[in-house]
Amino acid sequence: MHLMLEFGGGLELLCESVKVHNVNVDMPKGADKLTMKDLLAWVRTNLIKERPEMFMKGESVRPGVLVLVNDCDWELSGQLDTTLEDKDVVVFISTLHGG
């Protein structure tokens, strides 16, 4: 499944400062769909190069990270259970506090 992943708000520093990643992610063995929970595990293994605790906490993202699936807060689509479709755009953004 082809997905476009974007990291922002400083999270890109965890993936060698690359913000946009066009990736192909396979469905888990025996499953007929790919969920956000699967994708997070994939991202952690394949894209996060340092300080994984700055990206994840438990099986979800750490507090202060917004997850957007096709420009929509993942809270509105079922969070970890959100089912992903081919060509979906998933954005991970760390909330900023500076000014």
Binding site: G8, G9, G10, K19, E50, E53, M54, R62, P63, G64, V65, L66, L68, D71, C72, D73, E75, L76, V91, I93, S94, T95, L96, H97, G98, G99
Partner: protein, 468 residues
């Protein structure tokens, strides 16, 4: 025939004479214009009193129609370009003139926000800040001028606002916003603009807006990115609905550490002014339930849909008991594990015998003591300024580069017959402690750090050392 020198001085005299005459004429024009304005306003007042006296006559003058909107002749002229907008017009401008807006923070975001809010005619504009203007603010905090360096930001910002618009009320709150004064200050305004720079302030301001029922225009900027949304507006989410758990303190970067391109908070601050104006004047669709994400490098603006009000929210949820008293008692610094003030944290990781002061280090350099100085700042910091003969090994890559430290120490020891000392320095003396702790665990038992880092070197040893 006159010589060249005489010719030139004659021309100069003539120019001076013409300039004097020009100045005289310009002054005359100004005087006449003032006279004209005075006559016009006198005529205006006369019309007004006549229309009151002769109430039986139907209203015929245009001035009467305008007065019904509560806009004075000066206001009509000043805000004419707003009034000409069919979707804004007299109604929105009158709303704006009757509104009150508080801007918390007169920094990178607050500067443009305040300038536009003052210019557009917000009736009462409040400014909260406890900082003073510094030289390293100037590149982004465009409301302040060099003449105000060392003076309170509130004073500087208020004076700039007054010089743009003397007809509105500017209120100075020269104090740090705390739970002890926030309720009293925020309750005096219709709308709050969060232009602060740290996580505990953001939670505190949002909670205070929730208990007082005020809409909150929240902006943030760091590096080359910005974010903007409106909280607690007509049933929309509050900051805690979106971020019920605070992020780890290590994830909260500050402009003073990570840097920020000046124009980025400028853009977000302008958008904050825009959202505040929309709410105050009751036009358009405020950015509630949506968030604007700005990426300066790729020139992209993304507007995303965010969750609505959370029923479980501790501040604004259905069964919450959070009230003004809870707010007053809440410890936001403890909650977020980070300080409300912008002053950098002072880590105390090492025992005193594992540290030396910058003055002591200077003495050791002068006495020719064999040693290695490792500077653990990131490479782009090191490029700004560094101490002579220091070795730049950033903290993040130190473990992999220990052999470089070993060989540098060996080089120093050659021919001396005794051991060389190992010192570690960073910008302020926090990372250097982390580095020494790591070095000691790796067998460099004598490693010591320099208390207060390069900042203390600049303060206590070399006042000409550039600081950033």
């Amino acid at each position: 025939m006159e010589s060249n020198g005489e010719g030139a001085s004659r021309i100069r005299r003539e120019i001076e004479a013409l300039k004097d005459e020009k100045a005289r004429i310009e002054q005359k024009i100004l005087d006449l214009e003032a006279q004209l304005q005075e006559e016009a306003s006198l005529a205006h007042q006369q019309q007004q009193s006549e229309s009151v006296c002769n109430g039986c006559f139907p209203s015929v003058s245009a001035a009467d129609a305008n007065l019904a909107h509560g806009l004075t002749a000066d206001s009509i002229y000043r805000y004419s370009r707003h009034l000409l907008l069919p979707s804004f017009g007299v109604r929105a401008q009158s709303n704006l003139l009757k509104s009150s807006i508080l801007v918390v923070g007169a920094g990178g975001l607050g500067s443009p926000a305040l300038l536009y809010l003052a210019a557009c005619g917000v009736g009462r504009l409040g400014i909260v800040d406890h900082d003073v203007v510094e030289l390293n603010n100037m590149h982004r905090q465009v409301i302040h001028t060099e003449a105000y360096i060392g003076q309170p930001k509130v004073k500087s910002a208020a004076s700039a606002c007054r010089s743009i618009n003397s007809t509105i009320q500017i209120v100075e709150h020269e104090q740090a916003l705390r739970t002890s004064n926030a309720l009293e200050i925020l309750s005096q305004y219709d709308i709050v603009v969060d232009a602060t720079d740290n996580a505990p302030s953001r939670y505190m301001i949002s909670d205070c807006c929730v208990v007082l029922g005020k809409p909150l225009v929240s902006g943030a900027a760091l590096g080359l990115e910005g974010q903007l949304t409106v909280y607690n507006y007509k049933g929309g989410p509050c900051y805690r609905c979106l971020f019920p758990t605070p992020p780890p303190a290590t994830a909260c970067q500050r402009c003073s550490d990570s840097g920020v391109l000046g124009v980025v908070p400028g853009i977000i601050g302008c958008l904050q002014a825009l959202e505040a104006i929309k709410i105050a004047s009751d036009v358009g669709e405020p950015l509630s339930g949506r968030m604007l994400l700005f990426d300066a490098l790729s020139a992209r603006v993304r507007i995303v849909k965010i969750r609505g009000r959370s029923l479980q929210c501790e501040a604004c949820g259905e069964n919450t008991t959070f009230n003004q008293q809870h707010f007053k008692d809440f410890d936001y610094e403890k909650f977020t594990q980070s300080p409300l003030s912008t002053s950098p944290p002072k880590l105390k990781l090492l025992a005193p015998d594992s540290r030396i002061t910058s003055k002591e280090y200077k003495e050791r350099v002068v006495s020719g003591e064999p040693h290695v100085l490792v500077d653990v700042r990131p490479e782009h910091h090191y490029k700004i300024v560094s101490l002579p003969k220091s070795l730049n090994i950033p903290l993040t890559s130190m473990e992999a580069r220990l052999p470089e430290i070993s060989s540098a120490l060996k080089e120093q020891e050659e021919g001396t017959g005794s051991g060389a000392n190992l010192y570690v320095i960073c910008r302020r003396g926090n990372d250097s402690q982390r580095a020494v702790e790591c070095l000691r665990n790796m067998g460099f038992d004598l490693a010591k750090d320099i208390v207060g880092g390069l900042e203390s070197w600049a303060n206590d040893v070399d006042p000409n050392f550039p600081m950033y």
